[in-house]
Amino acid sequence: MNGFDWNAAGDALPLLLEGFRVTLLATVLGTLVAAVLGLAVAVAGRAPSRFVTVPVRAVTEFVRSTPLLVQLVGAAALFTSVEPLTIGIVVLGIHYAAYTSEVYRAGIDSVPKGQWEACRALSLGPRRTWQAVILPQAVRNVLPALGNYAISMFKETPFLAVITVQEMVFEARKYGADHFAYTEAFTLAGLVFLVASYPTSLLMRKLEKRLGH
């Protein structure tokens, strides 16, 4: 093996950054899906009727106990007419919603019982109780944990390459194959991940401290 080929690295960079845009897009939209869907699942899990809570629990259990990779490939096989990136975002979102719902659930549980009782004593309906009282307190408690899931989703986006989404690692592999410069392409891809996620982690930790956890 030769030494690190700086020219190849420079050559690969624009392509990788092109892929990085897709990676970012998938992460941001996937996180959005996971944040909203997870919240819906957590609230539904508190529904008074078992006809709601039992199926919700079954589905989240299923999603959580099968690998992301299998879910991606399965979804891509099922929905052949849908764009791979869309499938990737939705599957990432659903996969992570199974985890964020758990985080929200803990956040909701951490709201003191007295808050629910005050809502009842004021005759607040379920919508205002959730929207004005419970969720603002619950979400504040779980923001750091949600942030951490966003970071780990970011690092799992390379799985999308398997269903031909042209994210960064997909591009790295392609460049590596075309120019026989795997080392350069993958090192660079790894660096881009590091550069992007390390400051985000620091930011999360700061946020965590500010929220007093």
């Binding site: 008074p48 003191p112 007295g114 808050q115 009782e117 005050a118 009842r120 004593a121 004021l122 005759s123 607040l124 309906g125 205002r128 004005a132 009282v133 603002p136 307190q137 504040r140």
Partner: protein
Amino acid sequence: MATEPLPLQKTADVAPADAAPGAAPAVAPETGHPLVRFDDVVKRYGDHVVLDGLNFSVRRGEHITLIGPSGSGKTTILRLLMTLEKVSDGVIWVDGSPLSHVRTPAGVLKPAPEKHLREARKKIGMVFQQFNLFPNMKVLQNITEAPVNVLGKDREEAEARARELLDLVGLSAKIDAHPSQLSGGQQQRVAIARALAMEPEILLLDEVTSALDPELVAGVLELLGDIARNTDITMLCVTHEMNFARDVSETVLMFDSGQVIESGPPEKIFTDPEHERTREFLDAVL
């Protein structure tokens, strides 16, 4: 006595305008039935019987103090009235209607759905030992949240009312504060204002001063005394403040083992109780 009328003073119920003098009133006089009546109310937690066929009633405008040893079920009674708990058996009547039951077409009472409860609760307000203000809202919104979203008041009207109530509880300056920036006594006064903003007919107070530092107790009790004297709100207070009970309430109910064992005006109960248990209890707390 407070020297000027409080902004929350209710006007006396006026007769319907169309009722000619001497004609039979269009509505039944409200003195016909007690405002609150516990009818053989049983409350169990598992095998533990907390209230065992409890009977008592409260007249409209009456101020009742509930006393009794720890664990005797005082809080449970208020929580049942607030519909935070369900009765195991028996019926609670409020203003002639069953509180947590609905009548089936056959005339049988069955437990009411949540929606009915939400309606039934509107006439009842509660102040908690731990205040339970909403920490994510400023003082003003704590007070206006329910009037706007439950009673359907418009925001301006609700805010004007909130200002009056804050003035009443002496906290006008804290209108934009968050609950965490207030002392316990201030938080409790906001909680009282929040309950009053819903214009309850019945106000439930569960040891509202017992989480407060001693020097903050008097202010809150004074406020409650003013409310008792200047409004027609019916009050049920659980308290260990016997002076407060004596000053504010017309009736004291002594509880033990899930039953009312004695009731009467405070002078009688505090000076000449009938029951040995009451005497022992008073000796222990006074």
